[in-house]
């Protein structure tokens, strides 16, 4: 058995005993070791059945002690007490929580009063976790302007995080006084995390965004057009080990007009690469798109529908997507495959307007799972590219050298179930 006593301190509330508490580990179990018992204690401890020990002794988080004294008996604790020589060990069913103060409560002797208020209390603090604190890697959208009906916010962390902090430690603030804007974010229970709890998805209250609903009529949009705001992640946000962030993080925005049109690949701008080159395919969007969905809703396929291997990057405030092939483009036809779940910042997807106005024919939903934009890579000097609106190509696009990039591959396969693809061009 190993023990750690340097970091532990015990406090006492009763002078009759001088108990010493420390943490120890045996057979893979974390234990709380309690020594310094008086001889009469030891006589009883050694003879008591485990059930009797559990009735008279309890190890609980110290902040429960006041509340515990409102109940008649010592609380039921999952774990077991072991008596070995002159020491008592508590082996909990659930591991002790780092940074938490624990108390051992010792009830009155059998035959005495049964009020937990009479319990003797000794306290020790479990050492806090150490290591580098987590930090916020990014807040999305990264565009400078949010539409009035912006729906989502993503926060990427450098380490796995704790649940339960999303609404407490993330907020919107309004310039210039930096006052929090109340009621913007929707409390979600459970919160929306990726499996590693590194990426948090927050929803702006959809009831206030959707036209016609009572929340929208009564309280208006969560944001106001023209406001300068910031999305802020407070340092209090705890990582998986219960430690705060290394620093708070924020991203500033101005609130622009609402967006209520389907995402339409026919309105994007394209710069098609020449055959034989490794030049990237560049796709510029007519509005910023949802960062998370952009990461897996676009891919490039060859004539046979097989994925083209390469790297993609996203930038310009989620306004462009660039794909660089791992091997040179061949003089052949390719397709940009678009998953119709791809959304803009306001939740409008390729399929549907977020809150569709039934009186507008142009808002009719698209009953397809995917669309495909075809293009041809021609030999240098040949300007035609079948299936491409050349008039839309490259205008307004700039080289994304300075922008954030993520090395990625478009490895997604296109299965036979995607036969409902169509050309986005009219």
């Amino acid at each position: 058995m190993t023990s750690t006593s340097a970091a532990t301190t015990a406090t006492r509330s009763d002078r009759r005993r001088r108990l010493r508490l420390d943490w120890s580990r045996a057979h893979g179990d974390e234990q709380l070791r309690i020594r310094g018992w008086r001889d009469p204690d030891l006589v009883w401890l050694r003879s008591a059945a485990e059930e009797e020990l559990s009735r008279r002794l309890a190890v609980v988080a110290t902040d429960l002690v006041e509340a515990t004294r409102t109940v008649r008996d010592l609380p039921q604790v999952a774990g077991r007490f072991e008596v070995d020589g002159d020491e008592v060990r508590f082996v909990p069913r659930f591991p002790f929580v780092p940074g938490t103060s624990y108390s051992i409560l010792i009830g009155p002797a059998p035959g005495g009063a049964h009020d937990a208020a009479d319990a003797e209390q000794w306290t020790i603090v479990r050492p806090a976790s150490s290591g580098t604190p987590a930090r916020v890697l990014a807040i999305y959208p990264s565009a400078g302007e949010l539409p009035l009906n912006n729906l989502k916010l993503y926060v990427r962390f450098s380490k796995p995080m704790s649940e339960g902090w999303a609404v407490r430690a993330v907020c919107f603030r309004r310039a210039p006084d930096n006052e929090p804007i109340e009621g913007v974010l929707l409390p979600m229970d459970p919160e929306l995390w990726d499996p590693e709890r590194r990426r948090l998805t927050l929803l702006l209250d959809p009831g206030r965004i959707k036209r016609g609903l009572a929340p929208n009529r009564e309280a208006g949009y969560p944001l106001v057009e023209g406001w300068q705001i910031s999305a802020r992640v407070e340092r209090t946000f705890q990582d998986a080990r219960g430690r705060p962030l290394g620093a708070a993080a924020e991203r500033r925005y101005v609130v622009g007009p609402p967006v209520r049109k389907r995402v339409d690949p026919a309105k994007w701008q394209y710069r098609w690469p020449p055959a034989g080159s490794l030049k990237p395919l560049l796709v510029g969007f007519d509005r910023p798109l949802d960062r998370a969905l952009l990461e897996h809703c676009l891919s490039v396929v060859d004539e046979a529908g097989a994925p083209v291997i390469g790297r993609y990057s996203i930038g310009g405030g989620e306004r462009w997507w660039r794909f660089a092939p791992a091997s040179p483009w061949r003089p052949a036809r390719y397709g940009l495959d678009v998953d119709c779940r791809l959304e803009d910042l306001a939740g409008n997807s390729v399929s549907r307007v977020f809150d569709r106005d039934l009186t507008l024919d142009e808002d009719d939903p698209l009953s397809r799972a995917r669309v495909q934009v075809e293009f041809s890579c021609e030999s240098p000097g040949v300007s035609a590219a079948a299936g491409v609106r050349l008039s839309r190509v490259s205008a307004g696009l700039s080289a994304p050298d300075h922008a954030e990039t993520t090395a990625r591959t478009a490895s997604r396969s296109c299965s036979s179930s995607q036969t409902n693809s169509r050309h986005a061009r009219s």
């Binding site: 709890r197 209250d205 791992a326 039934l358 591959t409």
Partner: protein
């Protein structure tokens, strides 16, 4: 449990004795004969577990527990802040209360089930060697899912090496997209599962036949609702309850409308349109819905983050025309009940409603209300 008893428990439902390895825990619900369904979003799996709770109910009404949060924290040797209660369900015969909860946070979080029985006793529901089966949520991404976030990495510490047309790349695949189960109900041999994606904003309801088949297949249904006759929209279902001999479902969305749809609608096609019957207003989020009987009539209760506990008559819901005019009062008549700060609720065979209730000091208690008093 004896071998014979285990065999008996596993017959009929295709259950096999083993140990479900939960990575997370969310909504739970019982079938009428005591099979507990447990949602594990991180594993994209629903487990059906025979909890072998054969205790006869020892008292006429379900248990009540004062200071439930303190007792849970004491039991699990942590603070009250270290516990997140996910859901509550009542065993149909023993009337014991089951809680799904998470103890601790982040990587050290432990998902578990707690049973509250006679005398307010707490115990962990062991999942070691229990009869169970499982169904994978079909459209949640698996480990080989094409929607994984695939990164090219340097070094050899992570990922796997592949060769594409003579080029060697090392790829790491991170699963970013998840489907979080928000509520479940068991209806006539069918498990209904509502979920929310952490990416696209949609409304899907999965239907999983039980017993789960060998390769449990689920199908999902998109549900739209119309706001005031003009705006059609989708939204994740936050909580729902079947009622009316399981012919109807009342659902509450993250965008607050309360929507009715019939189970018949769910049995056909891949899309359904619900009928918006109430609109609960701003700065409020419904937490839970439960159905119960009183005087031969059926009612539902809706607990809310800001509004009081609301009671609606199912007959009024059935009569309610789709909302077409955005004026007050909006939709089905409802009555505010005096129970304060109610979060999770569960029906005990329709005769009692159990509620997790905070008092003014913030302490959490488990309360049981006779349906005739509601």
């Amino acid at each position: 449990m004896t071998t014979d008893e285990l065999k008996s428990a596993t017959t009929g439902y295709g259950l096999a004795v083993g140990t479900p390895r939960l990575k997370s825990i969310g909504p739970i619900t019982f079938s009428p004969d005591g099979i507990l369904f447990v949602a594990d979003s991180a594993n994209a799996t629903i487990y059906a577990i025979d909890v072998r709770d054969t205790d006869a109910p020892s008292q006429s009404q379900p248990v009540e527990v004062d200071n439930l949060d303190v007792r849970l924290a004491a039991y699990m040797a942590c603070t009250r802040d270290d516990i997140l209660i996910r859901d509550m369900a009542v065993h149909p015969t023993s009337m014991a209360v089951y809680l799904s909860l998470v103890r601790g946070r982040g990587g050290s979080a432990i998902p578990l089930l707690i049973r509250i029985g006679e005398g307010s006793s707490l115990r962990e529901v062991s999942l070691e060697g229990v009869p169970f089966s499982q169904a994978v949520i079909e459209d949640a991404p698996g480990d080989d899912d094409e929607r994984l976030d695939t990164r090219v990495v340097l070094g050899d510490q992570e990922g796997e090496e592949i060769e594409v047309r003579g080029i060697r790349l090392r790829l790491a695949r991170d699963k970013l997209r998840t489907s979080t189960v928000t509520d479940m109900a068991f209806v006539d041999g069918m498990l209904l599962v509502a979920g929310a994606s952490n990416e696209e904003f949609s409304s899907t309801l999965r239907r999983i036949p039980f017993p789960f088949e060998d390769e449990a297949r689920t199908n999902s249904l998109e549900i739209f609702h119309v706001s005031h006759g003009r705006y059609e929209t989708a939204s994740p279902i936050r909580t729902f309850v079947p009622y009316g001999d399981n012919l109807s479902v009342l659902a509450s969305y993250t965008c607050t409308p309360v929507v009715h749809f019939s189970l018949g609608d769910l049995k056909s096609g891949t899309q359904a349109k619900g009928r918006t019957v109430a609109d609960l207003g701003a700065m409020n989020t419904p937490i839970d819905i439960v159905a119960y009987q009183r005087g031969g009539e059926e009612y539902v209760l809706v607990s809310n983050t800001r509004h009081p506990l609301l009671k609606m008559a199912c007959a009024d819901i059935d009569r309610q025309e789709p909302l077409t005019h955005p004026q007050q009062p909006v939709g089905v008549p409802r009555e505010a009940l005096p129970q304060q700060r109610v979060s999770r609720m569960a029906s005990a065979n329709g005769a009692y409603v159990l509620m997790l209730q905070q008092d003014e000091a913030g302490d959490l208690h488990l309360r049981s209300y006779d349906s005739d008093s509601l």
